[in-house]
Symmetry: C2
Subunit: 673 residues, 2 copies
């Protein structure tokens, strides 16, 4: 049987047709030095059989857990062998593209200790932590308690007589639950618990450093019951041992309270932290990283689906008798090209946010909490936007691939299941919406007093100062003036907040209202950032051609953001609705988006190649670089465990009995067709 | 440790507070006799250890496949032992709540044979098929070809000399792919292939009955290469052996062509079918069943999430110091109560559709194809609506459960992964949208000629006949006049189609346009059905209280359908937008929805109890009837395979080396915190 000749030709043609320069764009996206480091690590890993992905689709959770540990252990070995820096090692761990137990050590345990442990505790454990001589986890949520930290039930009672804290789980619902790496891996943990003072007073939730397992034999410490909480939905984060722990009056020394800010004196007096939210640093760090994670997920989804849609042919016949490429259908490119645009925006935004966070963290370390409020408002909204968008778009991309998108080998199902919990962890998105709204309301109320003082997250409110400017009209040629779209998105935020404040029963923030306000405000913030990115293109080292194409991507981002907010634009009269029979503003906007997608289409494969994913990283039969998708599906199917036997062992057990019973019934004249 | 006392009390209180009568509503929903039959089968199965679900969350795909066959085999055994009817047996299979291999025999293989095989073929194989003396599958899609049947590559060449057809796969891309039950189970199949006549002419795709495996030892027949295509995204339909097959010049007898309609004479002449679409019956049957499937999925999602949201407490403190029930938050009930409403509507609609299909099928059997076009247009739109809605809502419900919703034990991840492919199989939703649009355009063009002749699917077009009536205003008390909302939804469909036809380049149906038209048209159709359901309540045997509550559910369905179409209502001027600063129509509508949700809230648990799910059917730790969700999570976690060893065997292999290396590094002063 001969192979289908068309697919690889299609992809080659698309590559040849693209005018953008993948290498320069890559440098623009990631930074040159950073990309080189990334490539170096990928080169090592993709050739090392320890990181072979070809069997993981068939593994049980127990096997995936073991594999994740083996790969992590091997990376740390390589760190020593190759002299990798901490950053290179972290890249390697990221490249595993799995939720591995030791990740929690680096992303939760270590940062919390670094920022909140006292000097004596750090001098005792710091080096062990930094080198993984002990490995940790962060125990916050409980079986009965999630994002409302104030309601946690676990207690840490100070006992002045012995200078100890006693950690205790008083109820079933106080069992620590969902804690990554707790189930089977971590030796130590930072426990969030209500601090009970000798006089019985509850000083609220504080953090305590607790040894969980023996360093001799890994057996749980006396008084602590630990285990794995079981598999996660859709096979997501399978390699991670999310765990539970119950504490039965477990004693820890006084110094194990993380007491850089709040403290308990040896005689049991409580010393308040200088700023109520000074311990938010860790959370901000994790949330700000989620924009980068979302950018990467969007980039993977765009790369895989655009490649497949380029080689897949279906439906209408072309003049040469071949079927049309799927990417040529409006229903496909209208879905996929905007995902590409969002990937670019989120990758750039994630880098900016990392820099902003570093500044905030430096200030925090020196006790300056002035930028904390702004950072909190911004990261809350961005966390919601980044996670909601990436989860949605990965599924849009998967579905755009039709039937084959439902194969595990397509790769996007695995990605979806892994990023899915980001909507509910690190602050449930619905809860965070309310935080964004609260910040917006506060800024709105301060409006008469602020004069022209606006932070980046509240800048849109300037449009409410009198004389209030009218929103600009939507140009039919948005290329000419992206600032108009940024302004429109800022006007939307301002009007949504204003309308809400003028008519709402202020106490009652119903669901729709919170989401509506939150996304309008966050969209305005991001739109302004994107406006700045467009301006920044001038100063970049990109060629004029590359600049023009990326400019179009950014404008596409702005236009599709407008589309998602259409209800606001229409209902608040920002986009005027003509009298019945007049032109439909919705179709006008969608027409612009469609035109822009079509313009970008010849560059789509080039722009996704620019992300620089290797086949090893994507691990997708539909996203292979050479476009031989059918060969890839065929090769992978052969390894399916069900194909181990030509005749399944279940034939004798369960199929033959059905057939034999069926023949008996047929001869006895039972059922008829 | 004592248990948390609140949850069960919350659910008991909710049940006591509900005024609806679950038993009468159940009869109204399902029909009394049908429900009794269902209960009888559930009673048998839920007590039989063969159908125990407690270990499935931990099983590999190979184990799940074996389990599905074992359960099916046992059901057929019970059929003989207990004298179950075909209907009862099918119910039992449905209740497995899994995609089992033998289901394809009943839903695809058997109906196609029944409706399209010739009498001689049926007399030879009918009894065997009906009693499963042979088990079958339906081979349509190919590795390189999906919904465009015309482009399939598999050939069936008629050889007059031997009076045989030769089935052949000429290319890799012609390999049959995704075929349920083909991988390891089926003995026979119906193959869709291009019929090649002796003169070399291609008569297009036709169906052929082909033996795939030996009835002696289950080995694939000579010339056929068969296997499993591998796992599916997110672990979906794991127990099903979707398979591939390549045919190498495989001969079958002349009579094996399904020739009730189209035929090839012994001398090789082609006899056309009486109606080009007469073979669509099977597809219509499958699509019309998808509304019922969606209704059940929505009912499960509503039951589980409403129960959990009733016992889960979080956030704001009540006067007694307890946290607020999650269901009491607007962001929760605004999401969940409408799912309940959609479950009711889809369950009712599914029953109606089944009846309509039976009529159409009877007519088809007698050669009357007059109702086929209407049935095709209706089921295409409903298939898109039902699958898109159920997939979305199951995920909305899962996410509304916060962190615990991501546990496999919550149950909704499993449900989501299973129904997910319904968006792309049996007609990709984006392709079907275009069918709906084509039917709408055809009806619109016929408008000047039809006078007052409208079918249910085009009835909304009457609003375009002059004198064109103005759309009604949206009442602030929708309870009083649901007909107004139905009319508004019909006006929207009429205006969307009209606006499209007045301004569109007719050839260019871009993505947004097709989806927009399709959902406007289908929403109008369903709204009219719901209007009829509301009228029908008067004649039902329900009490006045039950009638009033279900009436509210139906109105909630209509209002939330309006909400989903807000962009159309606003941009086409059907909901007038007041001058800047005036009341926001979006908030007005959402306020009505919110009020209605609040009114229905005290009945929500009663209304979901009315679906009648047992704990065995739901298989969800968060949806347990008694509300002891934390105990249920705790019990299930204990069985996690990772908990088999107190100290994981991976400790010695991969954790200890990391710790030892870390200690060495720490003492050597490598990294610092």
């Amino acid at each position: 049987m001969h192979e289908h000749p068309l697919p690889p030709a299609d992809l080659t043609r698309a590559r040849q047709g693209a005018t953008v320069d993948a290498a320069s764009i890559r440098s623009y996206l990631y930074g040159h030095a950073s990309w080189e480091q990334h490539e170096r690590v990928v080169r090592v890993m993709s050739k090392d059989p320890a990181f072979d992905n070809s069997k993981r689709a068939f593994m049980s959770r127990t096997e995936l857990y073991a594999r994740a540990l083996a790969m992590s252990n091997h990376i740390y070995e390589l760190q020593d062998q190759l002299g990798w820096s901490t950053e290179e090692t972290r890249r390697a761990i990221d490249l595993l593209d799995e939720s591995t137990p030791f990740v929690l050590h680096e992303t939760a345990f270590e940062p919390v200790l670094r920022s909140q442990a006292s000097e004596p505790l750090l001098s005792k454990y710091g080096a062990l932590v930094a080198n993984r001589g002990i490995v940790g986890c962060y125990l916050q949520t409980e079986l009965g308690h999630g994002s409302n930290v104030a309601a946690l039930e676990t207690t840490a009672t100070f006992l002045p007589a012995t200078q100890e804290f006693e950690i205790h789980s008083p109820t079933l619902t106080s069992t620590k639950w969902w804690i990554g790496a707790l189930g089977k891996t971590a030796t130590h943990g930072v426990v969030q618990a209500q601090l009970i003072l000798p006089d019985g007073k509850n000083a609220g939730p504080h953090l305590f450093f607790v040894q969980l397992r023996s360093l001799e034999d890994h057996v749980p410490m006396s008084g602590i019951v630990i285990g794995d909480i079981g598999p996660k939905a859709m096979g997501g984060t399978a390699p991670l041992d999310n765990g539970y722990a119950r504490f039965d009056h477990v004693r820890i020394p006084h110094e194990n309270m993380l007491s850089r800010f709040a403290q308990v004196t040896p005689d049991g007096r409580y010393v308040k932290p200088p700023h109520a939210k000074i311990s938010y640093g860790g959370m901000l760090y994790i949330r700000s990283g989620m924009v980068t994670t979302a950018g990467r997920a969007l980039a993977e989804a765009a790369t895989i689906s655009l490649r497949y849609a380029t080689v897949r042919r279906q439906g209408q016949r072309n003049a040469d008798g071949s079927e049309q490429q799927v990417i040529a259908y409006p229903s496909t490119y209208y879905r996929l090209v905007p995902i590409l645009a969002r990937a670019y925006v989120f990758i750039k935004l994630g880098r900016q946010l990392r820099d902003t966070f570093s500044e905030t963290a430096e200030r925090l370390a020196s006790g300056d909490t002035s930028s904390l409020g702004e950072m909190h408002a911004t990261t809350s909204g961005l966390k919601v936007l980044a996670t909601t968008t990436s989860i949605r778009d990965v599924e849009v991309a998967r579905r755009a691939m039709g039937g084959h998108g439902y194969s595990t080998f397509a790769g996007l199902g695995r990605l979806y299941a892994r990023i899915l919990p980001s909507a509910t962890y690190e602050g449930d998105n619905f809860v965070l919406d309310q935080q964004v709204v609260r910040a917006a309301i506060k800024a709105y109320r301060a409006l008469p007093h602020t004069g022209a003082q606006f932070s980046p997250s509240t800048r849109y409110l300037r449009l409410l100062l009198s004389p209030q400017p009218a929103p600009p009209a939507l140009f039919s040629a948005p290329d000419d003036n992206p600032e108009q779209i940024v302004l429109l998105l800022e006007h939307r935020a301002a009007r949504v907040v204003q309308a809400h404040m003028q008519t709402a029963d202020e106490g009652a923030l119903d669901a729709g209202a919170a989401q509506r306000l939150s996304s309008a405000v966050t969209d305005a913030f991001v739109a302004r950032q994107v406006g700045d990115m467009i301006l920044g293109l001038q100063a970049s080292s990109l060629s004029a051609i590359d600049r023009a194409v990326i400019r179009q991507l950014y404008i596409l981002y702005l236009l599709t953001t407008m589309e998602a907010g259409l209800i606001d634009f229409l209902s608040l009269g920002i986009l005027p609705v003509p009298a019945a029979g007049g032109p439909d503003p919705v179709r006008a906007l969608r027409g612009m988006i469609s035109d822009l997608c079509l313009k970008l289409l010849p560059e789509a494969i080039g722009l996704s190649d620019a992300f620089g994913f290797t086949d090893w990283e994507l691990d997708s039969a539909l996203g292979v670089y050479d476009g031989r998708v059918y060969e890839a599906l065929w090769e992978r199917a052969k390894d399916s465990p069900l194909n181990e036997h030509e005749v399944t062992p279940e034939y004798e057990r369960h199929i033959k009995p059905v057939l034999e019973r069926g023949r008996r019934r047929a001869f006895a004249g039972k059922a008829k067709l």
